[in-house]
């Protein structure tokens, strides 16, 4: 693909730590992607509005507060409501093993927990884009 992949890195909900999101943003930048970072404490509605306007190929969500089961599916569903059917949604954060399957069934296509390698994340995005 001869165009940069556009990734919206977003932090839904109320937790105040974005060190992880920034590390991911930096890794994606170094992999040649255009990373749109929207900062802390975003509502799912704001994130989806930004994803639409930025024409993002990927929405990468980070949550450390424990509210992932509520927030991640909400973003997936709002994207659907907007008619966005070609955007890859992935998530990360402190997410218990038991929750992962449910999130994937809800439409979050990959989940990364602490210790994940940024290389794996870059590789996953590059091979799982929904539009060329």
């Amino acid at each position: 693909m001869d165009r940069p992949i556009r990734v919206l890195v977003a932090k839904p909900g109320l937790d105040g730590h974005d060190r992880g999101a920034k590390v991911i943003a930096r890794a994606l930048r170094d992999a040649g992607m255009e990373v749109i970072y929207t900062g802390l404490r975003q509502t799912p509605e704001q994130i989806v509005a930004a994803a639409v306007q930025e024409d993002a190929d990927v929405v990468a969500l980070s949550v450390l507060s424990g509210a992932h089961n509520h927030l991640f599916p909400k973003v997936v569903n709002l994207l659907k409501d907007e008619g966005v059917d070609d955007c890859l949604v992935i998530g990360g954060g402190v997410i218990p093993e038991d929750d992962i399957q449910g999130l994937i069934e809800a439409g979050v296509e990959a989940i990364y927990t602490p210790g994940s390698s940024t290389k794996d994340i870059v590789g996953y995005i590059e091979t799982h884009l929904k539009r060329k």
Binding site: D2, R3, P4, R6, A25, R26, L28, R29, D30, A31, G32, M33, E34, V35, I36, Y37, T38, G39, Q42, E45, Q46, A49, A50, V52, Q53, E54, D55, E82, G83, V84
Partner: protein, 310 residues
């Protein structure tokens, strides 16, 4: 998705997709702009420039909110630098504009410079056309954080707002050529900090030395974060617009800018043709090596490449 139909109906997604396609030099998208060009010309473009961290994004957010009170539809193009090494970028201007994300009458798009060095990207002009067709009353173009000479914004904007902050150098900075010369309006942001009056005076003194004209750039002290001085700044931006419109200068300025943009389009395409042809014949690498070895001088090498398109 039928982009043309959806764009004319005011769908943000169509608008966003068309901008992406133009960023990627997509031929279909260019054809669509050709077709819809007669719908442009209803927007007013304000360029916002200034050094990194001077508060351009926050100020853009505040100016947009002020104009939303007048029920204007606003487009924002926020440019951040692309890495010359990887082609990647961190586009972070939206962080200061999150309140606007859900406003139906505001469209915000972040763009990487993708190799352009003048403070904006190659596709910015195309994106302006898209937002014009989309129906924006005003478009703000926020440049990358600039230094002293990234002045491409003046080739695209109807009004240039230069954002500066207190204590960013002595009075010699104010009399230097380049970025300080292109402003139609100056905003001294963070003017709650010490030194704002001194900075204002230095800029004013520099303006005093200009040849006397019937327009003089105003210098306004604001604080974007405290929302102070924003209404006055909007007033000054409108005054500049009125000045241009009342003296037929707007048409003059736009024609000058269109000439520069047209030249740029031709230059881009010519460069593509030249690079494509010289790569095909391995000429570029060969000649570069010969210049290093001293077997050819750079000017004769240039002539060989120009011959390819003559």
């Amino acid at each position: 998705m039928n982009i043309e139909e959806k764009l004319l109906e005011g769908h943000k997604r169509a608008c966003a997709r068309l901008i992406s396609m133009l960023e990627n030099n997509d031929k279909e998208a260019i054809d669509l702009i050709k077709k819809l060009y007669n719908r442009t010309g209803n927007t007013y473009v304000i360029g916002i420039t200034g050094s990194p961290g001077s508060g351009k994004s926050t100020l853009t957010d505040r100016l947009t909110k002020e104009l939303r009170k007048k029920n204007k539809k606003i487009g924002i193009l926020a440019i951040d630098p692309t890495s010359p090494f990887t082609g990647g970028a961190i586009l972070g201007d939206r962080i200061r504009m999150n309140d606007l994300a859900l406003d139906k009458e505001v469209f915000i798009r972040s763009m990487g410079t993708r190799g352009s060095l003048g403070g904006i990207s190659r596709a910015t002009w195309s994106a302006v056309k898209v937002l014009d067709i989309y129906g924006c009353d005003y478009i703000f173009i926020e440049t990358v954080g600039v230094g002293q000479s990234e002045i491409d914004i003046v080739k695209m904007a109807d009004t240039v707002l230069m954002v500066t902050t207190p204590n960013t150098g002595d009075d010699i900075q104010a009399i230097k050529a380049g970025i300080m010369e292109i402003a139609d309006v100056f905003a001294i942001n963070k003017s709650d900090l010490d030194g704002a009056d001194k900075t204002k005076m230095e800029i004013e003194m520099n303006l005093d030395l200009n040849e006397k004209k019937d327009y003089r750039a105003p210098v306004i002290k604001v604080s974007a974060i405290k929302n102070e001085g924003i209404d006055e700044l909007v007033k000054k931006l409108e005054e500049h617009r009125n000045y241009l419109e009342n003296n037929n200068r707007l048409e003059e300025r736009r024609t000058r800018n269109n000439k520069l943009q047209l030249l740029k389009l031709v230059e881009n395409e010519l460069m593509e043709i030249i690079v494509e042809r010289s790569v095909k014949e391995d000429l570029l690498d060969n000649l570069s090596k010969q210049i290093t070895l001293g077997t050819i001088d750079p000017y004769s090498a240039k002539d060989k490449i120009i011959e390819l398109i003559r």
